[in-house]
Symmetry: C2
Subunit: 703 residues, 2 copies
């Protein structure tokens, strides 16, 4: 007899396998129940909310965007620390004690929590006695993102980077060697010529300056300025610089990309191989919990009832039909039970997203059957489904684009906006009256959702705006901004009509979730650099509002900046005076252009030449490593797109759907690729009667 707690345990194994969690749970019923609670989505969301709050504290701490008293931020941080401790204790209760202490990520969290507490005490004491203190533990905050149980993907990315580092560092050393050699040559060739730079200082006479200038040249930030004095004196020096750029900018940077890409891929592959192994182990364990041996010496099996109960526990919201479909894939001989080999596949089967489309008749059909079957109505249906309808609306959108571009102060133009809004609303209403609403707003109809939300928002904003305008004669800039953004966003819809564009866009959308992991990676790195940068450079450069008449405005409030190009270019707002401006500055440094100017005539001038270390380090970490990984990542996504391969399971599921004649494509004239986009066409009024009540579609296939 299989107990209730056994099902709990099996459900845990299966869902761990499904979501690639590699956690060794204690098998006692108590731990199992705690673990189910631990994985509850509310707790996870709460954890991330508190991590976010903890990270956002930087907005309120000195140097602050919105200053809050010290006790307030300290209190919030204590609350965060408490939540993290609670979560960790919960985790400790779930897994065996010795496993807990062997796991570096738990140790990391404990160390971070202890250090933060220590820092808070020290800082509080220092502040209380009015002394200078540094909140150094703030650098550790983003590491929580990496070390919480849910940061699996992020940890994997960091591990891949760490593993790729030795290979990268060899190329990096060679690259540095090349810069050193070229610098030496530059010193010998140009140092003795008595050349002058633009500001009259001697050109290329100090070896270490040359090294730095040539490093900057690799980033192309000081091209062609660094070359001009030499080039002006002779054509031949240009050859030196061109050769330098060819070797160091083009060849070495490509080699970096190649090495990063290759290593990242290699280690990721290894990680995935390991994941598959762990997944298999989990499923085998789940099987051994539920298995029954029917006869003497027979093979252990799991019967249909147990399987159903298990799946219902793992995914309570899965439809019965979907579950039965999966069973029929596993038990293809219809024996009523499955062996271990089939059972192991369950985790992957659950991950294949199958859209269950209920082929319901349109509500209008049941409400007003006579009207719905009338000739004008049928005609309308055919009209809306026609390709010309799409083209018509594409033209309307393009006309709208021209109108948006024209001056909105013209009353004719502003009235026309109402017309366009009505046209868009009409489109949605027409579509809704023709297609079944629940199908129209199904989870995967990205563009339908997109359209509807934007049009409704635009409608609301426009009404509010005209209400304000007509009542007070005053136009709110914020609401207008929102209206403009919504209007312009509406234009993007046009892309979906062209098939080639759609495939590119779909690939980009598919990258989305992975970009989220990447975004966390960038966030961690940026946050650390921003905190360090704020401690080093805060308030060295001040920003004055445009309407300020402060005499210090022209040199960013720092006399040392008088006459520098930093002040001249009005870069005062590029500073480390708050976490927000630090982040924006770091983005500018990532883009690389002018980083040299920001550093050289800005932060190095107000502090010390060694400020270069911070900036160069940032360049190496973010531009050479992280951005290359990002590029590698997009490359890989596109290469995979170009060589589509379906997993065996996906094919067998598909085959089953076809066998059962429940596939979407059977009811559509369009080919597979169009199946997704014309999903809404599914419900053809004329053929409703012949349709089975349910059809399935594999989500990832044609997207």
């Amino acid at each position: 007899m299989t107990l209730e707690s056994d099902f709990d345990l099996a459900a845990i194994y299966v869902s761990d396998a499904q979501y690639n969690r590699n956690i060794c749970v204690d098998t006692s019923p108590q731990a199992v129940r705690l673990y189910l609670l631990y994985n509850h989505w509310v707790l996870k969301v709460l954890l991330y909310v508190f991590i976010l709050v903890d990270l956002c504290l930087a907005v309120f701490e000195d140097p602050a965007v919105v200053p809050l008293p010290l006790w307030a931020t300290m209190l919030v941080e204590l609350l965060c620390l408490f939540v993290f401790t609670f979560r960790l204790t919960h985790y400790a209760k779930v897994i065996p004690r010795e496993k807990f202490w062997k796991d570096p990520k738990n140790i990391c969290i404990i160390v971070i929590l202890m250090l933060t507490l220590l820092d808070m005490i020290i800082y509080g004491a220092l502040k209380a006695s009015d002394q200078y203190g540094v909140r150094w533990s703030r650098v550790l905050r983003p590491l929580l993102l990496v070390n919480v149980t849910e940061g699996r993907q992020l940890r994997r990315a960091f591990r891949s980077i760490r593993n790729a580092l030795p290979e990268i560092s060899y190329v990096f050393l060679l690259f540095i060697f090349s810069i050193l050699i070229f610098s030496l040559m530059a010193l010998k060739l140009m140092g003795k010529r008595g050349l002058k730079t633009l500001d009259g200082s001697p050109y290329f006479t100090n070896y270490f300056e040359i090294v730095f200038e040539l490093y900057v040249l690799v980033t192309t930030a000081n091209s062609p300025d660094v070359m001009m004095p030499a080039y002006n004196s002779s054509f031949f020096f240009a050859i030196f610089f061109i050769f330098y750029i060819l070797v160091n900018t083009y060849i070495f940077m490509s080699v970096f990309l190649a090495v990063v890409y290759n290593n990242y891929k290699k280690y990721l592959k290894e990680e995935i191989r390991q994941l598959v192994r762990v997944k298999r182990q989990k499923m085998v364990r789940a099987f051994s919990v539920l298995q029954e041996v029917s006869e003497q010496g027979g093979v252990p099996t799991v019967n249909h009832a147990h399987w159903s109960r298990l799946v219902r526990r793992v995914q309570p919201r899965m439809s019965n039909a979907h579950r039965e479909l999966l069973w029929s894939v596993l038990d293809h001989q219809n024996q009523g039970f499955i062996g271990q080999v089939q059972f192991v596949q369950v985790a992957d089967l659950l991950n294949i997203e199958v859209i269950t489309l209920k082929s319901r008749p349109h509500p209008f059909h049941s409400w007003f059957p006579a009207l719905y079957s009338s000739t004008p109505c049928l005609l309308l249906c055919r009209l809306v489904r026609h390709r010309a309808f799409v083209i018509l609306y594409d033209i309307i959108i393009l006309v709208n684009a021209v109108f948006i571009g024209l001056d909105e102060d013209n009353p004719l133009i502003s009235y026309s906006e109402w017309m366009f809004l009505v046209l868009y609303l009409l489109e949605i209403l027409l579509k809704l009256s023709v297609f079944e609403p629940r199908a129209f707003f199904s989870r995967h109809s990205f563009w339908n959702w997109f359209d509807t939300i934007i049009v409704i928002c635009a409608l609301i904003a426009t009404i509010i705006n005209s209400a304000i305008t007509s009542s007070g004669g005053y136009t709110s800039r914020q609401i207008l901004d929102i209206i403009f953004i919504l209007r312009v966003l509406r234009l993007i819809r046009v892309v979906d009509s062209i098939k080639r564009f759609r495939t590119i866009i779909n690939t980009l959308i598919r990258i989305g979730p992975a970009i989220l992991t990447f975004g966390q990676l960038i966030l961690v790195i940026y946050y650390i650099f921003a905190i360090v940068g704020m401690e080093l450079f805060k308030d060295k450069v001040k920003f004055f509002e445009a309407d300020s008449s402060d005499p210090e405005k022209s040199f960013c409030g720092n006399p040392q900046l008088k006459g520098t190009s930093f002040a001249h270019l009005n870069y005062c707002k590029n500073n480390f005076n708050s976490i927000v401006s630090s982040f924006i500055l770091l983005v500018e440094l990532t883009v690389v252009n002018q980083w040299h100017d920001i550093l050289h005539s800005g932060f190095a001038t107000v502090t010390h030449t060694s400020a270069r270390i911070f900036f160069v380090l940032f360049h190496i970490v973010v531009v050479i490593i992280i951005i290359n990984i990002f590029v590698a990542f997009v490359l890989e996504a596109f290469f995979v797109e170009y060589s589509v391969e379906k997993s065996g399971l996906q094919t067998s599921l598909e085959k089953k759907i076809e066998e059962l004649e429940l596939g979407v494509e059977q009811y559509l004239d369009d080919n597979l690729v169009n199946a997704m986009e014309t999903e809404n066409d599914l419900e053809r009024s004329e053929s409703t009667a012949n349709l089975p009540t349910l059809v399935f579609k594999i989500a990832s296939k044609s997207k």
Copy 2:
């Protein structure tokens, strides 16, 4: 009986197959003899010399670096045209008439020649009557490089680009669409705020200006300047720009790389597949010319004597031993004849570079046998072969680097240079006395050649320099420059001592020949843009030497440039006034940084806003397409390096070498990877007697 002319024909087929030439030669003995002449290396070199001369004419034509009278350049060009016509006629004689007229590359050459002649006549007439004329046919010159018979690789590269264009253009359209949408949003959000740019002009009020500015932002050339006015007014606008950069600079540019890489690779693969087919056909034809059918109904074969004669004709400089080795690979059952299957492999076998090392005793050994076998001499040999010897010289090189960096005016330092020279000479002499000189200077000992040439050149230059200095008390700057370059180049040697570096460097060296193809591609594109640029912008911007006191110097001789940043940054030499400065300017535009400034405050100011078209077109062609292909190309080279696979033939050749116990590795303690570098160690005095007189090594294997 096989005739002499049959051997000629077969040799042609084999060498065509070997060098992947796809030419349908007429099979008449006369045409075959002409074709042999056509492929003679002297004629090929001559052709390239004349193409080079033709291209270099731009240096002497108006606008010239070195002005020559019109009749001189015209005469040289006529000579070039004559040579090209001659070469084409030669080609026409070799292949069947109908094939000649069907080949687009021949038609291309004829059209180019005709147009050039026409242009020369028109231009000459216009000049004679003192009217304005444009030498427009100069744009066609680089196309000769593509269309000559030998430009196979280049044509292949261009074909791959052309085939990839449709795919690239879809992404490009989407990219342009994205820029247009973002620009519209920027116009609506920022246009009405009354913001001002740095120079006081209204900010983001003209749609087309915004589109251009945002296009420039994709290249990062105007970051963060373009964002500053908006950012200074509100934090939120920075988010707009960051999102823009993320989408257009990072994602779209990566997608471009992905698409270019993928398509380039795909089409190149197809081309190679076709090449292999053609190669097979050629070899089958060669076989059918030489084949003999020994008995009734027997399989046709080629016997050893015929094969030898054929190979001797194809590669006259191949050693007998090498040829016999190849035969033994083909005829592994020692039957004295080979069938068609084996014969087809000959072309590939000939392409595998096998180094024949004659294991001769050291000349000293035969000249002074007593001295050479004495204890001190043997000790010296062991010393030089020791790892410590290499390390010692690496340290010497590093010390030398420090000395070079120090001021050479110090007499101690300048004397030390003599010491280093002597040390380096001593190293080479020691190595020469220990290793067999012909092995030391074998074709694949890159570093030995490198060292020797540099040290000897440095010695000569230093002697000349001190002769001049001591006689006239005057130091020649040019000779000093050469000495410095040689000294610094010597330092590169250090890289070879570290294995990890060596593999990276070797991969880069291996890319070398292919980069040459790529260099031709760039040359063709640059030349066309340079010629067009010269016609559009020549003499709009003038450069004055540093010591000139001309009042026009401060604004590059063009009053319209007064006060522009172009003049301020002293960019006057970045102009289109000669082919050389055009090329350098185009390199600067390829590097992208500041291209916006060069265009906007430079060439657009002195001509018209539409100058942008030229610059943007250059950016699209060179940066988006060509540079991405270059990166794709380096990536591919490294990926191939990471997944080394030997062809089956190479392995069987290797196996044969091992079987015959003639492999290098049998006589070395080091492993395979070191085999190459320690090639010189081969001749161990103590084991000379036991060595066979010949050993083989596959060149590409361990390089």
